[in-house]
């Protein structure tokens, strides 16, 4: 490792950048968990669904900006539909029931998206720069830098929103206790629509980033499973945690695969993030930035 520092740096940077992608997906999870206590398994599919709509609208001749707005409208409509048809009827149910409902939603969206837009891989080009630049001898993809800056921007805005606005406070109250929030006059239904719409927006951004890199295809939603160890590393309720967790997981698994993968027969990337997260939990059960869980009888 020490004899080729440039190579190590390149591996780490490539890992960090795929980590940014994990972070973007994890961010959607955190948003919904933080604001409603729902572990939203459908976030991965929402990324795919948003990307499918976006690329489909562009292919049918819409200007990218118009397509972005239209997709955003679709995601908002989707969150309203989810709130009205599913969440409203499951107020105050156990978390596991809500979690299962989001798995149901993800099945539905997967079928729905592919019926409308087909299951083929679609290239997506929205003018994100794709050149490489050299920093000394280290190669960096411009698209990765772009993704990093976008993620940083999103996180800043969201963190400010949660901390300083009335809506942000209401979101946190709803997450703590649905019924208590309702009883002090917080409109639960509106809050749910807002938070799912914002999560839809984050999903759209993530989908565009992923789509420009890999093409829009079903595997996007599968890689979203990687967002889960990111979540436990960072803590379910922390927006910065999602980002930092993503960077750790991304860099960690690339380094592990490149340097130690051969020792174990390769493909340790598949589980490295999970085992890493598991060991981490032994020492800090609430994640890096998660809220400490206080329990009383």
């Amino acid at each position: 490792m020490a004899d080729a520092p440039e190579f190590l740096a390149e591996v780490v940077i490539a890992g960090l950048m795929s980590g940014v992608m994990y972070s973007l997906v994890a961010l959607g999870f955190v948003l919904i968990y933080k604001a409603s206590g729902i572990f939203n398994y459908a976030q991965g599919i929402m990324v795919l669904f948003a990307a499918l709509n976006f690329v489909g609208l562009i292919d049918s001749g819409l200007h990218p900006i118009l397509a972005f707005v239209a997709t955003l409208a679709i995601m908002i409509a989707l969150s309203m539909a989810i709130e009205r048809l599913v969440l409203r009827r499951l107020v105050n149910q156990q978390q596991i029931i809500l979690f299962m409902a989001t798995i149901g939603i993800s099945f539905f969206l997967e079928g729905f998206g592919e019926i409308i837009w087909g299951g083929n891989v679609r290239p997506l080009d929205v003018g994100i720069p794709s050149d490489v630049i050299f920093l000394d001898d280290i190669l960096i993809q411009e698209a990765d830098l772009f993704a990093g800056v976008t993620a940083a921007f999103l996180v800043t805005v969201l963190a400010l929103l949660f901390r300083y606005t009335a809506v942000g406070r209401a979101l946190r109250a709803v997450a703590d206790d649905h019924q208590a929030a309702l009883s002090i006059g917080i409109p639960l239904n509106h809050i749910w629509i807002i938070v799912w719409a914002v999560a839809g927006f984050v999903a759209l951004v993530a989908g565009i980033m992923w789509g420009s890199k890999l093409g829009v295809q079903f595997s996007i939603s599968i890689v979203a499973l990687k967002a889960l160890p990111v979540l436990i590393l960072g803590g379910f309720t922390s927006i910065p945690g999602a980002i930092i967790g993503g960077l750790i997981v991304g860099a960690g698994e690339k380094v592990a695969e490149v340097y130690w993968g051969g020792l174990f027969g390769g493909a340790i990337e598949e589980w490295f993030a999970y085992i890493l997260a598991l060991f981490f939990l032994f020492f800090r059960p609430q994640g890096l930035f998660g809220d400490k869980i206080i329990e009383r009888v």
Partner: protein
């Protein structure tokens, strides 16, 4: 009226503590048992081999997860991996010790899986809820990787997808290509009956009660002297045992090959669906869930053909996804306690029928 318990006197302690204290329930059980035994006489090869056997096997897996999730309150997304370990361990036992009768190999595979379950249950002491769910995903991905990357598990077979060795009971093949479906069915049925009986009893012993105490409020349970570590680990062990046996049966009696793709994350979700849709904390619910989740997609798949529609394959897969997802959500909204709850309600109504007040 139909469920009148008046006059059904218990005159011994044994009768009072029976698994099914109500006479009608016992009658129903005998009826179901007779029907299950008689099924090979009436059902065709397809119904036995492609519907009944998977339902039976998945019921075992669902009971396994239900012990952990429904009775002990520990979320696990690793059932698929535990099924895989059962399959691979049974394969190793059956090939390394060919003189062992197959049921023994399968039970040993279950025991080995229980040990693995304990290892992956260790984090449950420090973490709970969804953190634990994600931790069990580590089992899901790590174990499947292990079985595909360490050739020892498949006896260095080149394809990596070995076929279980044929085995006989009383001269009849129960695994392998020559095994008739009725023999496989009866073999699985025997396992299911035995394991169900164990599970029904297990959840009302001290172990089962400590599980429920941990589920209902773990700190309070700890205060009254229940050791959380042992309780949770025993739940993981029993759960993994059941899943392991299910996985072994799946490989040996259903797909007739030991392959990792049969036990991927979707299998874990499938088992989870069964438990939730069937009913958390109910053995009966595990069966109802297994029947529903296994047969519903098959029904959806063949339904258009009955009405004479020709639908292209990829569209039908996607429509299947949509309907399946919608039905899951629908069931959760209508009856979050699962299908077992519907049976409970029906039973209560039958007790009073025809005088509802």
């Amino acid at each position: 009226m139909l469920y009148r318990e008046a006059g059904d006197f218990k005159i011994t302690y044994a009768a009072d503590q029976a698994l099914l204290p109500v006479r009608q329930d016992r009658a129903l059980l005998y009826l179901i048992a007779a029907a299950a035994l008689a099924l090979p006489l009436v059902a065709g090869d397809y119904a036995l081999g492609s519907l009944a056997i998977p339902v039976l096997i998945m019921s075992v897996a669902a009971i396994g997860l239900n012990l952990l999730l429904g009775y002990c309150g520990q979320i696990s997304l690793g059932s698929g991996a535990f099924m895989a370990s059962g399959a691979y361990m049974a394969y190793k036992f059956a090939t390394a010790m060919p003189w062992l009768p197959l049921p023994v190999s399968i039970l040993l595979a279950g025991a080995a899986t229980a040990a693995i379950g304990i290892v992956f249950g260790l984090p449950s002491l420090r973490i709970k809820g969804f953190y634990l769910a994600v931790a069990t995903l580590a089992a899901q991905f790590f174990l499947l990787w292990l079985f595909t990357h360490v050739p020892w598990f498949v006896n260095y077979s080149i394809s990596g997808v070995p076929t279980p060795p044929p085995a006989t009971i009383l001269g009849v093949y129960i695994t392998g290509a020559e095994a008739p479906n009725w023999a496989k069915y009866l073999f699985c049925l025997g396992f299911v009956a035995f394991l169900t009986w164990i599970a029904y009893n297990l959840v009302r012993t001290r172990i089962g009660r400590t599980w429920m105490a941990i589920r209902d409020m773990d700190i309070a349970a700890e205060l009254i002297g229940i050791r959380p570590l042992w309780t949770k680990l025993s739940a993981f062990a029993f759960s993994a045992f059941y899943c392991g046996v299910a996985g072994a049966l799946w490989s040996f009696c259903y797909i007739n090959s030991v392959e990792p793709t049969a036990f991927d994350i979707n299998r874990s979700f499938q088992v989870l669906f069964m438990v939730i849709v069937g009913g958390l904390g109910s053995i009966l619910g595990s069966f109802l869930g297994a029947i529903f989740i296994t047969l519903f997609p098959i029904l959806l798949n063949s339904a258009p053909a009955w009405f004479g529609f020709e639908v292209p394959g990829n569209i039908i897969t996607n429509i299947e996804f949509m309907i399946f997802g919608a039905v899951i959500v629908f069931v959760l909204i209508v009856e979050p306690n699962g299908m077992a709850r519907i049976w409970m309600i029906a039973r209560e109504k039958l007790r009073l029928w025809p005088f509802p007040h």
